[in-house]
């Protein structure tokens, strides 16, 4: 065994160990008492079927919206629903617009964890509500402040100090906590918002437009509130509160400010979402109780592990020393693959785990192909070392063609199908690539360095 090979072997061992630490779930490592460094602390992304949660699919009705505005309307709707979903406090909620072609749009909402599905469905299905509010008169603000307990006020003052560093007293509070009263002006009177650019400074602003009735209400409102804020609310959440500079007639106004283009775009999208409500209809709902998920993940894990241990035993029994090396390289294979699942990250679902197990089967198959070849090639050569290269060389075409065809299927499935099947295709595809690498590179390397030692002379211990 040359020095170069020794170093390489050492590197593989260290990487395996590190990878092994990385793939352990964080909690498990803590339990064993291994201090995990920060960069290794990454959790697997589990699919809804494994951790429980709800999957909702909505069909959007865009018939009332002009064709060129549909994409924007959908994104506005997504923003609105994202905000509502945030209310549930679930980790990484998914709200996604799906363009089905032919101007058909869908909205996917996935919420993981334990939540009340009925409440979620009710909240998401509501049409967004846009309204404009005016500042409360000073007197009213004071009244409210007076009604608050001293403790709360003290807390508020402390918070402001913490955030801005300014010292404030109770009488200054209204400045920091603007409070608004509802007005008659709602999304019903709103026509549209549009992103526009100032001709001289090129800075973005939002042009808004009201319908006839709305123009009148807006005129009265601006007249009453010059130099004061008018707050824009969507779903009772404050979106923006521009200051009125003058009385505005004709129902057209501009919201200016220090926006980036992205911010201005988002604001106009949100305004439109409140003005041109997109009706959505639920077309598919799936709730998975966490108990089902937990039960199935535990069971599949145990079953999968049992199966893998059996395979390794089978390999060692039949292929002796080569089987032992294969067991070790399969371990490396599992570590690489699980690390990739964490890094990419691949969302693990039941189907994904099935894909993983199948790719393990293919990896074992590749090993078996090589060993059966080795059995033929070793006849007539005294030292196994001379048979190893040939065995790998001859087994390669079968491994290549078998794996590539399966890989082709994975690619097709990944792009055509969705959800369940896609998860399967992804893990199987990644698994196949990793398995080809472990067999043709890692395994071959092991066989060759051990074949070059004294063990190589004992032709019989290498295969059945």
């Amino acid at each position: 065994m040359g020095t170069k090979n020794l170093i390489l072997l050492g590197c593989i061992l260290i990487l395996t160990l590190l990878g092994g630490l990385f793939i352990l779930p964080g909690r498990l490592a803590d339990e064993i008492g291994i201090e995990t460094p920060e960069f290794l602390k990454k959790e697997y992304k589990l699919g809804l079927d494994l951790q429980g949660g709800i999957h909702l699919l909505y069909q959007a009705d865009l018939s009332k919206i002009k064709e060129e505005e549909r994409e924007d309307a959908m994104n506005g709707l997504r923003d609105v629903i994202e905000r509502r979903v945030d209310f549930f406090g679930v980790e990484e909620p998914l709200v996604q617009v799906q363009n089905m072609g032919d101007d058909k749009y869908r909205l996917i909402v996935e919420l993981a964890g334990v939540i009340d599905p009925d409440e979620a469905v009710d909240m998401i299905g509501e049409t967004p509500y846009l309204d404009f509010r005016e500042e409360m008169p000073e007197k009213e603000k004071k009244q409210i402040l007076d009604m608050m307990p001293e403790e709360t006020i003290g807390q508020m003052i402390k918070n402001i100090k913490k955030e801005t560093g300014e010292k404030v007293e109770k009488k200054d509070l209204p400045k920091y906590f603007p409070m608004y009263n509802p007005t008659k002006l709602t999304g019903e009177y709103f026509k549209r918002a549009r992103l526009e650019f100032d001709q001289t400074t090129m800075s973005p602003y939002i042009g808004i437009e009201f319908n006839k009735k709305g123009s009148k209400i807006f005129e009265e409102l601006t007249e009453k509130n010059i130099d004061k804020q008018i707050a824009i609310y969507i779903d009772n959440q404050l979106i923006s509160a521009p200051v009125v500079q003058e009385k505005i007639t004709g129902g057209k106004a501009q919201i200016t400010g220090q926006f980036t283009v992205e911010e201005a775009k988002a604001l106009s999208r949100n305004l439109n979402a409140g003005a041109l409500p997109v009706q959505i209809e639920i077309i598919s709902q799936q709730n998975v109780g966490p108990s089902l998920g937990e039960e199935s993940i535990e069971k599949s894990l145990v079953a999968g592990l049992a199966g893998i241990v059996l395979i390794l035993l089978f390999m060692i029994l039949i292929y002796r020393f080569s089987g032992l090396l294969a067991a070790f390289s399969l371990l490396i294979y599992a570590i690489i693959l699980l690390s990739l699942f964490k890094l990419i990250p691949v969302t693990l679902t039941l189907s994904g785990i099935a894909g993983f197990i199948l790719s393990l089967g293919m990896a074992v198959d590749a090993n078996i192909l090589v060993f059966e070849r080795l059995r033929e090639e070793k006849k007539g050569v005294g030292n196994i070392y001379y048979a190893i290269n040939n065995a790998f060389f001859r087994a390669w075409t079968a491994i290549r063609d078998g794996n590539l065809t399966t890989l082709i299927i994975c690619v097709i499935l990944f792009f055509i199908a969705s959800g369940f099947v896609q998860g399967f295709a992804l893990t199987l595809g990644v698994g196949i690539i990793v398995s080809m690498f472990t067999v043709m590179v890692v395994m071959k390397f092991f066989m060759k360095i051990f074949g070059a030692t004294k063990l190589g002379k004992y032709n019989k211990i290498w295969t059945r």
């Binding site: 699919l57 069909q59 009925d118 469905v121 009710d122 639920i282 077309i283 598919s284 709902q285 799936q286 709730n287 998975v288 109780g289 108990s291 089902l292 039960e295 199935s296 599949s300 145990v302 999968g304 049992a306 199966g307 395979i311 089978f314 039941l350 189907s351 099935a354 197990i357 199948l358 393990l360 089967g361 293919m362 074992v364 198959d365 078996i368 192909l369 059966e372 033929e376 001859r394 075409t397 079968a398 063609d401 078998g402 590539l404 065809t405 399966t406 082709i408 299927i409 994975c410 097709i412 499935l413 055509i416 199908a417 969705s418 959800g419 369940f420 099947v421 399967f424 295709a425 199987l428």
Partner: protein, 291 residues
């Protein structure tokens, strides 16, 4: 051992199985689950004891209007409710009606619109179709060096026939399962079929690969070469199937109910796939050559 000599026997066996499968598929049909047809399913578990089914049935009838549904026992404490559509409102009412009686856990609720189902069917058929085409092309290309005595694209055809054989018979078996035991086929079944597709092709290709190598290296008769190749590859085919089946059986027996149908489909498909690569695909090549 002479595999090729008894080709006709395998063909008769496989032909009969295919014939029966087609008959079953036409007479019984696959029992499509809600993933394909659209519909709703609710799975509820009672924490202590399950009330009588008849009692629950009348509870549902009282709480919702349209009362065309089926109610089934599941496990020792659970029930499964199926209905063409359960709106969110009705869903809530049912949960309330049951929850009023005893503490319940709602394990699953799925309501799938009919559009999704038909889309899924389309996706599945589409991906199977594209899979077939790409594979035939791929096989034709990698076997281009052995275009004698059979043209290389015929290797692709032989592999495809073996594949149809595996998928058809698996579907036939599930038509019987569906008819007699009410087993439904859903998305997992489709995924399993696609896995079988990959496995079956892989198996046929490994066998053909041996034939290709022997064809290039030796000058013996075609049937003798095929037979030798099969003999050489037999151990590998058996061991690979055994290892894959070990994992699948472990998953089937200990993996929980959620994936059992999925795993069962793969078990059937993999046994068929191993069989067909040896007893269908290769003898077929011989028949192609003799024509």
């Amino acid at each position: 051992m002479n595999f090729i000599k008894y080709s006709n026997i395998y063909f008769i066996l496989s032909g009969t199985l295919i014939l029966f499968s087609i008959v079953f598929l036409f007479v019984f049909g696959l029992k499509l689950g809600i993933d394909f047809t659209g519909g709703s399913i609710m799975e509820i578990e009672f924490e202590k004891e399950r009330p009588k089914i008849t009692e629950l049935r009348s509870d549902i009838k009282k709480s919702i209007k349209n009362s065309d549904f089926t109610l089934q026992e599941s496990g020792s404490k659970g029930i499964i409710l199926r209905k063409n559509t359960i709106s969110e409102k009705d869903h809530k009412k049912i949960v309330e009606a049951f929850g009023g009686k005893e503490k319940i856990v709602e394990k699953r609720f799925e309501a799938i619109g009919p559009i999704i189902g038909s889309e899924l069917k389309k996706d599945t058929i589409f991906s199977l179709f594209f899979g077939f085409i790409f594979i035939t092309f791929y096989v034709a290309i990698v076997f281009r060096r052995v275009s004698r005595p059979v043209p290389s694209w015929q290797y692709g055809i032989a592999a495809l026939v073996a594949l149809f054989h595996d998928i058809l018979i698996t579907c036939g078996i599930f038509a019987v399962f569906g008819h007699f035991w009410g087993m439904e086929v859903n998305v997992p079944f489709a995924a399993a079929l696609l896995t079988i597709l990959g496995y079956s092709i892989n198996d046929s290709i490994v066998v053909f690969d041996r034939c290709r190598e022997n064809l290039i290296r030796s000058k013996k008769e075609f049937n003798e070469i095929l037979n030798n190749s099969l003999k050489q590859i037999l151990a590998r085919s058996l061991f690979t199937s055994i290892t894959t089946l070990i994992v699948l059986f472990a998953l089937y027996f200990f993996g929980g109910e959620t994936i059992s149908a999925f795993i069962l489909t793969m078990i059937i498909g993999i046994i068929l796939g191993t069989y067909s690569s040896i007893f269908v695909a290769t003898p077929l090549l011989y028949k192609f050559a003799r024509r």
